[in-house]
């Protein structure tokens, strides 16, 4: 906060803007960009892990595990991901509270769905109603991360499963001819070669993940969409910095942010795919592979 910002009404336009753009609310707005980046960078490895687990489960020789993998990878087909984003966090939240309800409440015989309400005793509430605000925020954020990771994990499982099938059979046969066990073949031959095939699909998912982040708004997190809408609204003279309806400009800034993220990612992905193609006996090794987005 600059000292001359005490009386914004008398300021020239440049000074007015420099004050306007450094208000506490604007810093919350800038912070929400970091939230988005945080979400992306936490979700991506978790989703990759889920995806790898799902793909391995789908190819497992143990039937129940295989069924689970099949259900998980097929779950995202045919249903808009939006429904998952609305459904998964609430369902997870209620599941957690239900488990705590059975464990922590003295009288856990009453049904949790009482008419139109989901009722648990105070001790089972998650987070506790006495908890500080940041606990609530973190809890909501982790639910969002989990929802994103589950949905994108299912997408990643599809990609990794395809990539595992794409590794040439003779590679694996050669490995077993050399006397490698199944486990050794999988970890030393199959998985390292799989990444090259999975890269195009996974980088696609990365771009999609970036573009899915505004859905945080629907989960009730104060993200960039929320702040853009809030800050852009018409401010009357009751406010320190009155202005008209500027939401158009705030959303334009968001558009530019996402376009820049996409542009930067595409550059990095192109470089990565060139590196992965090195030493591969595929057509793509000799030409620049255009990454499908």
């Amino acid at each position: 906060m600059m000292s001359f910002c005490q009386t914004p009404a008398d300021l020239e336009s440049f000074a007015w803007f420099s004050c306007y753009l450094t208000t506490a609310n604007h810093f919350s707005f800038y912070w929400s960009f970091i939230t988005v980046l945080l979400l992306v960078f936490i979700t991506a490895p978790v989703a990759l892990l889920f995806g790898f687990g799902g793909a391995v489960a789908k190819r497992s020789t143990i039937a129940p595990l295989r069924w689970f993998g099949k259900i998980y990878t097929n779950m995202v087909r045919g249903v808009p991901e939006l429904i998952f984003f609305l459904f998964v966090p609430i369902a997870l939240d209620q599941a957690f509270e239900y488990v705590r309800y059975k464990l922590l409440c003295e009288d856990s015989s009453a049904p949790v769905y009482q008419g139109n309400d989901f009722v648990v005793c105070a001790a089972a509430k998650l987070p506790l109603s006495t908890a500080e605000a940041w606990v609530h925020t973190t809890y909501n954020f982790s639910l969002a991360v989990l929802a994103f990771a589950i949905v994108f994990g299912a997408f990643a499982a599809n990609v990794i499963d395809g990539a595992l099938s794409a590794v040439p059979k003779n590679q694996l046969e050669t490995a077993s001819a050399y006397g490698l066990s199944k486990r050794q073949t999988f970890w030393r031959i199959h998985v390292p070669q799989m990444w090259g095939y999975a890269l195009a699909g996974l980088s696609n998912l990365w771009l999609i993940l970036i573009k899915a982040t505004p859905l945080l708004f629907l989960l009730g997190i104060e993200d960039i969409v929320y702040w853009a809408g809030y800050l852009g609204k018409t401010k009357t003279s009751f406010f320190a910095y009155p202005h008209g309806d500027w939401r158009l400009w705030y959303f334009l800034a968001l558009l530019v942010f996402y376009l820049a993220m996409t542009y930067g990612s595409e550059k990095i992905i192109n470089r990565l795919s060139r590196r992965f193609a090195k030493g591969q006996a595929t057509l793509g090794a000799n030409e620049d592979k255009a990454v499908a987005t």
Binding site: P80, I83, N116, A212, R247, L248, F251, L254, T262
Partner: protein
Amino acid sequence: MSCSQTIVDYGLRSIGYGERLLPKTDITLCEQFVLIGSGMIWNIYFAVLALSLGFMFSITLALGKASENPVLNRMSRGYIFFFRGSPLFIQFFFAYEAFVLLPKLGVDINLGFAVINAETRWLTKAWLGALIVLFLNTSGYAAEIFYRAYRAVPRGDVEAAQAYGMTGKTRFWRVIWPTMLRIAWPAYTNEAIFLFHATALAFFSGFPAWRQQGDALYYAKYFNDKTFNPFIPYPIAAFYFILFTLVIIFIFGLINKRLNRHVAPSQRQSIRYRPQFLR
């Protein structure tokens, strides 16, 4: 109240016919099924119109991206990057705010037999505004698919056409176009499915629902807010979406069959669902 009565009351609720008030207490399973199904009318409306309008525009864009004219090329590339590089969700918000700021003008369009009054106010309503956004968005995605298909047309086919003396338009419509469409079709089917799924965003972003007339997800969320039980309305909405996804796959599969009718069965491309195009 019997279920058939509910169907009469709420079957067309999403487009303004039937009972005015939504159920508030003692919500039955039948009411959820009927009302969410009624909301699907909107999803189908958006999907059908955006896809059929977007198909033509996307091919223009794809040819623009493939063209050697620098102006056309740059413009098409920029358009495709813009709509594929930013979230549809933000595009909805941005478009809504832009439409709101437009001056409230009315233009009379004389069709000869009737006069239509086109107002800019209509752009802020979901039925037109959201449709325009979906149309522009799907055009961008589909254009990229058709552009890639265009590049994948075998060179030999084009050279053969040239050897037969075909040039310009004849060569395009007789040789390039059918092959391009055939190559693009499986990917375009996926695009159609994802556009259909994206219609669920329309009432969740900038565009408000007018008189509680919304799409399937709008009603699913309504029931969730009323009953605090997500395990019934969302699976119902998911059920409807899966149902119509199967319908899309069926229709596009028939078209795919027709496009591939001259190709040897072993070389035909089947439609494979690849969840890689959501926005």
